[in-house]
């Protein structure tokens, strides 16, 4: 409809439209003026480092001599040489099993941790949304794990998970659930589980908070109507609550997912060099600073950025398609 009106404006409205568009242009201008500082700061603190990292990934830069970097194109990502015997050898990040191991670890971690946190966060949010005495206190208390800096909570858990003096082993032994002390962070089978336990403990409150905000937007009369109609509470949850908090839930999941995909601090403290838990960020850091491979690490960082961007775009795209399809 609007398209038609613009294409063929009635003569009487011509002047009016003129004024209207002037006003609009002015508003757009002032919007840009107000946005400019933010955009400038973003370009400086986010854009420039990103561009630099991408640039370094196409060079031979090393930390000892960053200025002496030479451009080598995509060699850090993939390069191959054909030997005289006719065998082709691939090199570079995309042919590096350590990199794909890190990608797989990160995806596994993200999928498992975000799923558990969403379910637990939803449960906690539903509980906190109910009216009970001392609710304010419980709401504040449940945020404590989220308020503790990750480094601190990771170190705290590292001691709790310690095989000899850790409280976790002590409790489990006391309950008779394990027969001997488990080396949580050392054992390749339990290292990822240990990381997941800590991450779930830490970020469930964050999920709960975002979902709780969504829950409070749901109008009370919908529930009253359902109650009068005698709908079973479980059905109310699936048919009323869940569809209504869906937008909030989607936002919460995407926030968590972005965070989980670039997980670094927790793993760096708990199990820094363990191949079972090494994520993309940990691998990138290792190459950037520990090894003399700054450019290679920059390539890993760039890939990390691209993978996160791709996953986010896909998620938002699928999320919206479903959302509109239901309507």
């Amino acid at each position: 409809m609007t398209d038609l009106a613009v294409a063929d404006p009635p003569a009487a409205l011509g002047r009016h439209t003129q004024i209207h568009s002037d006003l609009k242009a002015q508003r757009v201008r002032s919007a840009w003026v107000f946005l400019a500082p933010t955009l400038l700061v973003l370009a400086l603190v986010a854009g420039w480092p990103l561009v630099r990292t991408i640039y370094f990934s196409f060079t031979t830069a090393s930390l000892t001599n960053p200025a002496g970097a030479e451009f080598i194109g995509f060699d850090n990502y993939l390069t191959w040489i054909t030997l005289k015997s006719g065998r082709t050898i691939y090199r570079g990040l995309l042919a590096d099993p350590a990199w794909w191991n890190a990608v797989w670890n990160t995806l596994k971690f993200t999928l498992v941790s975000v799923s558990i946190e969403t379910v637990l966060g939803l449960v906690v949010a539903l509980v906190l949304n109910a009216r009970f005495p001392g609710r304010g206190l419980v709401r504040a208390a449940i945020l404590i794990p989220w308020a503790i800096p990750t480094i601190v909570s990771a170190k705290m858990w590292a001691w709790m998970l310690n095989d000899q003096f850790g409280i976790l082993n002590d409790i489990l032994l006391g309950l008779g659930l394990i027969s001997q002390k488990v080396a949580w962070t050392a054992n390749p089978d339990t290292a990822m589980i240990a990381v997941l336990i800590v991450d779930v403990w830490k970020t469930t409150p964050f999920m709960a908070l975002l979902i709780l905000a969504g829950l409070q937007m749901v109008p009370g009369d919908v529930y009253e109507a359902a109650k009068i109609d005698g709908v079973h509470p479980v059905k109310v949850f699936w048919r009323v609550t869940l569809p209504l908090i869906r937008p909030a839930l989607m936002v919460a999941v995407i926030f968590r997912m972005l965070d989980a995909l670039r997980i670094f601090d927790l793993i760096y403290v708990l199990t820094p060099n363990n191949a079972q838990t090494k994520t993309m960020s940990v691998l990138a850091r290792e190459n950037l600073f520990d090894f003399d491979k700054f450019a290679y690490g920059a390539a890993a960082s760039t890939m990390l950025f691209l993978i996160i961007a791709a996953i986010t775009v896909l998620y938002m795209w699928f999320g919206r398609v479903n959302f509109e399809g239901e309507r």
Partner: protein
């Protein structure tokens, strides 16, 4: 006239001295054991003596983490830190970022062991001045060995057998938490040190030989790592795979280990008043593969280097010379049981009285095996990381030693390229 001139010169000299005295320095030092409180005490003395002010920047006790932080600061040309406490293996990697101390220290350099000064020299440039040297020891519980009538072990197998026997008998006697042996098997630089000792003492070479050959893939080395694999879960807790120095000291110092492989710093701490093993333990050289063979200790030790980006290089050099001086090294030996780098301190009666083990340590670190940092240069960290990963994989049951060392050889060959 001359008198006036002389007076003027004296005043001028005093003036510059006053200017220099205004210097504010920063020293980055690690936090293992009691290093920080010791440094604070010594810096207090330095400040009173010279009028300079020194800020202590504390670093993580893991040397791998410390190194990457240094590298980052130095790459950015950071002026905030003037003096860096550096590990013995870092000189070749960071040489470009530190100033040459040769001229400034030529009066004192002769007091230190030449081999240590040599290890801190890269391309003829003295990168850092040593403050203490390190060679690990086998700590053993004298009381327990006497109780079960065992002699201190000469070989790894003897150590494992003794550890197993005492562990079983002590557990049967109600000591449920006791373990035979603790060491450092977390995937980090410390595992490189531990594994290098197992391999070298079994005749398996030193990963990369001084001439650059990659020697690690051999039967003796594989056997040495397989031997260590058998310790995990039997005489050593499964958790050693996540232990660094301080975690193993925790088990040891609470009285829950018969043997421990650790650096000399644990000696003074183990004899502290809060220690459950105070007066109950002794130290000896690490075991060898067969009786009568030479044991091998990895050469450790820490040094001080001056950043070339520092604005206060004069005062920084003064600080380095103070902290590496004979007086401070003696104090360090007395308080922290860390080995001096000055030969004459080994004959000092005070040191011998406070740390009876120390005079015997001189031959051990003189024959200590260096990590291949000099030959692999800037690639050392990656060599070490690949090596400790191969060992850690083997120890945690992810492939046999022979398989992992074969892979390691391929990786190292690729990393080496045409030359190190």
């Amino acid at each position: 006239m001359t008198l006036l001139l002389r007076t003027l010169t004296v005043f001028a000299a005093l003036g510059t001295a006053d200017l220099a005295a205004a210097a504010e320095l920063s020293l980055a030092a690690n936090t293992t054991g009691k290093n920080v409180s010791f440094m604070r005490e010594q810096l207090g003395r330095f400040e009173r003596q010279t009028g300079h002010k020194v800020n202590l920047v504390t670093m993580p006790s893991s040397s791998s983490e410390q190194f990457s932080q240094y590298r980052l600061w130095l790459a950015a040309g950071n002026k905030d830190v003037d003096v860096y406490q550096t590990d013995v293996i870092w000189a070749p990697q960071l040489a470009d970022q530190f100033i040459d101390l040769t001229e400034a220290t030529k009066d004192v350099v002769g007091d230190h062991f030449p081999s240590i000064i040599q290890s801190q020299t890269a391309n003829g440039k003295l990168v850092a001045l040593p403050i203490f040297t390190d060679a690990p020891a086998l700590y053993y519980r004298k009381d327990l060995l006497e109780k079960y009538d065992r002699t201190p072990p000469k070989t790894w197998d003897e150590m494992a057998a003794t550890a197993k026997e005492i562990q079983e008998k002590e557990r049967a006697a109600g000591q449920a938490d006791i373990w035979g042996f603790v060491f450092q098997a977390n995937a980090y630089e410390g595992l490189t040190c531990n594994a290098l000792e197992w391999i070298k003492s079994s005749g398996g070479g030193q990963i990369v030989e001084p001439d650059g050959t990659i020697s690690v893939n051999n039967e003796m080395a594989a056997a040495a790592i397989d031997r260590a694999k058998k310790w995990i879960g039997t005489i050593a807790p499964g958790g050693v795979l996540a232990y660094q120095e301080e975690e193993s000291r925790g088990v040891w110092q609470t009285g829950n280990a018969v043997f421990m492989r650790n650096w000399p710093y644990a000696y003074a701490l183990g004899n502290g008043d809060d220690s459950a093993v105070k007066g109950k333990f002794e130290v000896m050289p690490l075991p060898a593969a067969n009786d009568g063979e030479e044991p091998s200790s990895t050469l450790g030790g820490w040094n001080l280097a001056v950043s070339k980006y520092s604005d206060e290089q004069e005062a920084a050099i003064e600080l380095v010379k103070f902290l590496s001086s004979k007086a401070v090294q003696k104090e360090r030996a007395l308080q922290l049981s860390q080995l001096p780098t000055i030969a004459s301190l080994y004959d000092d009666p005070d040191v011998a009285a406070a740390q009876p083990f120390m005079p015997n340590w001189k031959p051990i670190f003189e024959s200590a095996v260096p990590r291949p940092s000099a030959v692999t240069k800037v690639k050392y960290n990656e060599v070490s990381s690949r090596f400790w990963s191969a060992v850690h994989n083997t120890l945690s049951g992810n492939g046999t030693a022979a398989e992992n060392l074969e892979l390691l050889e391929i990786e190292l060959t690729e990393l080496k390229g045409d030359s190190w």
